[in-house]
């Protein structure tokens, strides 16, 4: 058994009585629900460039967020001091929105629990990996990437870890904690040939132990992939412009789902009826080849959590089943106001931000097609296998995602690599044009970070090879 990390209140220098008192201050007559979120986070980063690991950064943050909700209103305060007085000030602010007299009766905590599962067990916590071991890993990467091709002129790599201890106490009497490790190894290569410079990036990670990066020589794979992409881009031609069929490779291209439908299915936008999906529950929003889920329960994944940041166990939620829109992802506030199931998607960046409905790992289930047949089915189009970021306008549904490795398909064959190009489409429409779904579902390597309302949280995506019959490709070759 791994050693049980300390998720007790003592870690935060608090007693249960103090927590009950703070909940009592905030839980006044008009308040429906309130919670305290305690967090302590240790972040460490080492980075390398020009063959030297010369940068090391470590940061410690600790604090509490206090939230009260009354109807649709949320009062929120946070403090990086954890004294009884600071909690009281925060609780007073949070209950301000309820505009009712101060309560003084402590709220009993009736149910104290550890999460019922451990999705990220580790023999050695990631926080206890020595700096020297981190440094060695980066040094190995430099050598590997340069060995790939002499045209690789610079290699940059960083290894970041986070070790977060959280505890949630709620006015419905629950107190539950979790320890959430997270790490990411990222490699960037610059290739140069006759004055033409190109970049390639690759990386991976999740909530696993440090040994993951050495297993199956993963770090070498990351280094080689970054180098390969940079070298490939040396010969890339201008990307096409206009509407055409696009084949997406498996794994990270699942960012399509995250942007095109994931954000639009977050409950807050739908409660406010400001999402392009607000009136589409039970309606066909994708071809019947598409079944899409959000699943926070996959072991060791970057987007997974034992419990969300409101203390609700994460779950697997079917968003789209054979093309039909089935459900939204929810946090407590929106599930309560909308009268729909709580899915365990209430997430926050830190104690300094309020929980919002957010995705975990969002992916499409495998279909029946052979990926080679999918490519062969396209006469002229684009085959995109790697992407940078994406973005969506929730209200009109328009979304983009930008390819960083893509090829022309000519007469059913993959031919030349093309320069990066942004793809743009409409969320409620694009998946209706998915005519083939491969049997090769792949989850991404574990590098995704999602932004919403200024808050970043780690997420995952996944996709089998799919064919989209038409989408606008934003190259320069029009």
């Amino acid at each position: 058994m791994p050693t049980q990390p300390n998720t007790e209140l003592a870690h935060f220098g608090l007693t249960e009585q103090e927590v009950r008192h703070a909940l009592g201050v905030v839980k006044v007559r008009d308040v429906d629900y309130a919670d305290l979120y305690f967090e302590s986070c240790l972040s460490e980063s080492v980075s390398m460039e020009e063959g030297l690991v010369k940068r090391a950064v470590k940061s410690v943050s600790q604090g509490a967020g206090v939230r009260a909700t009354a109807g649709e209103k949320t009062g929120f305060a946070y403090s990086d001091e954890l004294t009884k007085r600071d909690l009281e000030i925060a609780a007073n602010t949070a209950r301000y929105i309820a505009q009712s007299p101060q309560g003084e009766r402590p709220v009993p905590v009736t149910h104290r629990a550890k999460p019922t599962r451990d999705l990220y067990p580790a023999e050695t916590p990631i926080s206890e990996v020595a700096t020297a071991e981190r440094v060695d890993l980066l040094n190995l990467i430099d050598a590997e990437a340069r060995r790939y091709d002499p045209r690789i002129k610079n290699v940059m790599a960083s290894f970041n870890t986070e070790y977060k201890i959280v505890m949630v106490a709620t006015t419905d009497g629950r107190m539950v904690g979790d320890v959430q490790p997270l790490s990411r190894l990222q490699v960037t290569c610059i290739a140069e040939e006759n004055g033409n410079c190109q970049i390639g990036t690759f990386g991976g990670g999740g909530r696993m132990a440090f040994s993951y990066y050495h297993e199956q020589e993963r770090y070498k794979h990351y280094a080689r992939e970054a180098a390969r992409q940079a070298i490939l881009n040396l010969s890339a031609v201008d990307a096409p412009a206009g509407v055409m069929p696009v084949v997406l490779g498996g794994g990270w291209p699942g960012i399509l789902l995250h942007e095109a439908i994931g954000h639009g299915l977050e409950a807050d936008f739908n409660r406010r009826k400001t999402s392009a999906f607000s009136h589409l529950l039970g309606k066909q929003v994708a071809s019947d080849a598409c079944t899409i889920v959000d699943d926070g329960t996959l072991p060791f994944r970057r987007g997974s959590l034992n419990m969300d940041d409101e203390g609700t166990p994460t779950s697997r939620t079917v968003l789209i089943e054979k093309g039909i829109l089935r459900g939204y992802i929810t946090d407590t506030l929106n599930a309560r106001l909308m009268g729909i199931p709580l899915t365990g998607n209430g997430r926050r960046e830190s104690f300094q931000s309020i929980p919002l409905p957010r995705m975990t790992n969002t992916f499409m289930l495998a279909g029946e097609s052979d990926p080679q047949d999918i490519i062969r089915s396209v006469k002229n189009g684009l085959y995109a296998v790697s992407f940078g970021g994406g973005q969506v306008d929730i209200t009109n549904g328009k979304f983009v995602f930008s390819a960083s490795e893509a090829y022309l398909i000519e007469n059913g064959q993959i031919t030349k690599p093309v320069k990066g190009a942004t793809l743009i489409g409409s969320g409620p429409d694009v998946l209706t044009k998915v005519s083939m779904v491969g049997h090769d579902l792949k989850l991404d390597e574990g590098i995704g970070t999602c932004g919403k309302d200024g808050q970043s949280v780690p997420v995952g995506v996944g996709l089998p090879t799919i064919r989209i019959d038409e989408i606008t490709v934003g190259g320069t070759n029009g």
Binding site: V46, E49, V53, K54, R55, A56, V57, K58, S59, V60, S61, G63, K73, T74, G75, F76, A77, D80, I89, T93, Y96, T131, V135, N154, T188, I190, C197, I199, A239, A241, G242, V243, R272, T274, Q352, I354, G388, G390, Q391, V392, D393, I394, T395, N396, K398, F399, V400, F401, S402, K419, G420, A421, T422, I424, T472, V473, G474, G475, T476, G478
Partner: protein, 455 residues
């Protein structure tokens, strides 16, 4: 700001103690940065309070050097035992990395002596109820502007103030206070014929409360921007001139800042590598970085290393005159710092803009639109389709199609693509309408030709 939160404090003694403790542990040089801030934010939606957030936060960062080895750490826990641990951790971390020949603090004589008052701080305290009232007024102006404004993602009003202190082992100690007041409104409008929805937003932000636009003007501008998007459609794929409005031209200038950062240049990740002294834009383009603009959002009396800030000509009449450098990236390029060390607490410095702007030209924006027979006026860009190494540019866009010098109809679900290097050379008009709503600002500009992908 209302009473419950304690005011920001003076941390110079604390910084002094930490520098002493680092020295005792063998550090040859060190610097300490302390940030302390308060904020109050209210969001209303459909005339009711949706969210109220109040906070006080502080953070301390320590950077130490052991000869040419260095490391940085930070914490929000200022207790004696925690800071002792921080010093110990930082010192051992620094000894775990390799020597970097160019690392180190700036030379003692170069550090900032003068402390100009840049008018960055306004002590006006706005109460919680007043925040609510101001946000409600702004949203009401948007909701009342037109019956097609059917919904709202809310309006917010925020106030914050903060204090930054930097001290180093050369004896530099500097600090400044700053404040910020802002509001924004995000209305949703529905097209009565199709049921299609559009959302847009508008905002105002100032260092001084009294300078802020009225909530009514922010709300009605937000409504105007949202309503004009109704009925948007795609256009056919083509090559055409593209006009960037103030905000979008500002985003292009932001890309320019990224390419001019000393770190991107010495790493070879900038499309402007090797362009110093070259013509990178037409004569009409002059760009300044001014760290001492009164009330500027990027203004500060000294930079993230304690060097004096200044006004730097970056591009003069189209010719690249200066990069944005801190001491480290400057040394890597064989150049002196330009006083552009930007720094978040607990990180080593990087190089970035202070107040970075394109000097306005003589042409009013309406005349720029009038100069286009057939082209695009861009008011929104989404996505991250920019390759900073090559300058290749491809982003999602929305705006208006121009026919014979007039905005003909709104467009969406299109992309614009080109290459930043060529786009800057291809700026053929610079507007007269410079306004600062952030640290990077630009008047309207027109780019001769880009590829527009649509139907």
């Amino acid at each position: 700001m209302s009473g419950a939160l304690p005011a920001v404090q003076d941390y110079s003694q604390l910084a002094h103690d930490l520098l002493g403790r680092a020295k005792q542990r063998g550090a040859t040089e060190a610097d300490v940065m302390v940030m302390d801030g308060r904020n109050l934010s209210v969001q209303v939606r459909l005339s009711a309070v949706d969210r109220l957030t109040k906070a006080r936060e502080k953070r301390l960062g320590l950077r130490v050097f052991f000869g040419k080895r260095s490391a940085s750490t930070s914490t929000s826990d200022f207790s004696h035992s925690s800071l002792d641990q921080l010093v110990a951790d930082t010192c051992s971390l620094a000894q775990a990395v390799v020597e970097d020949p160019v690392s180190g603090l700036p030379a003692k004589e170069a550090l900032g002596q003068d402390r100009p008052d840049l008018d960055l701080y306004d002590a006006t305290e706005i109460g919680t109820d007043e925040h609510i009232t101001l946000a409600k007024r702004a949203e009401a102006a948007a909701l009342g502007a037109d019956p097609r404004v059917s919904n709202s993602e809310g309006a917010d009003f925020n106030s914050s103030d903060g204090h930054v202190l930097l001290a180093n082992s050369h004896g530099f100690v500097g600090d400044y206070r700053s404040s910020s007041f802002s509001m924004s409104v995000s209305p949703v409008a529905t097209d009565p014929s199709t049921g299609g929805m559009q959302r847009d937003s508008w905002y105002a932000i100032q260092r001084a409360y009294a300078r802020l636009d009225s909530p009514e003007s922010v709300g009605s501008e937000a409504a105007r921007r949202t309503l004009r998007r109704l009925g948007a459609r795609k256009v056919s794929t083509c090559k055409a001139p593209v006009i960037f409005d103030q905000e979008m031209a500002g985003s292009l200038l932001g890309n320019l800042c990224g390419a001019l950062s000393g770190y991107a240049l010495y790493k070879g990740t900038s499309f402007l590598t090797g362009q110093m002294g070259h013509k990178i834009a037409p004569e009409s383009v002059t760009v300044y970085d001014d760290g001492r603009m009164p009330r500027g959002f990027g203004s500060r009396p000294f930079d993230g290393e304690g060097l004096p800030t200044r006004k730097t000509p970056v591009i003069e009449r189209g010719v690249l005159k200066s990069y944005l450098l801190d001491t480290y990236s400057g040394k890597k390029l064989g150049l002196a710092s330009t006083g552009n060390a930007s720094r978040s607490v607990g990180e080593s410095p990087s190089a970035g803009p202070t107040n970075f702007y394109l000097v306005p030209g003589a042409v009013p924006p309406a005349d720029i639109i009038r100069s286009v027979t057939r082209g695009l006026y861009v008011t929104e860009l989404i996505g991250f389709g920019i390759n900073m190494v090559t300058g290749d540019y491809s982003r999602g866009a929305a705006g208006f199609w121009i026919e014979n010098g007039e905005l003909a109809y709104p467009v969406e679900e299109i992309t614009i693509a080109g290459n930043l290097k060529r786009m800057f050379l291809d700026i053929d008009m610079v507007g007269s309408d410079l306004e600062f709503r952030g640290r990077i600002a630009s008047p309207t500009i027109k780019i001769g030709e880009m590829t527009i992908a649509g139907n």
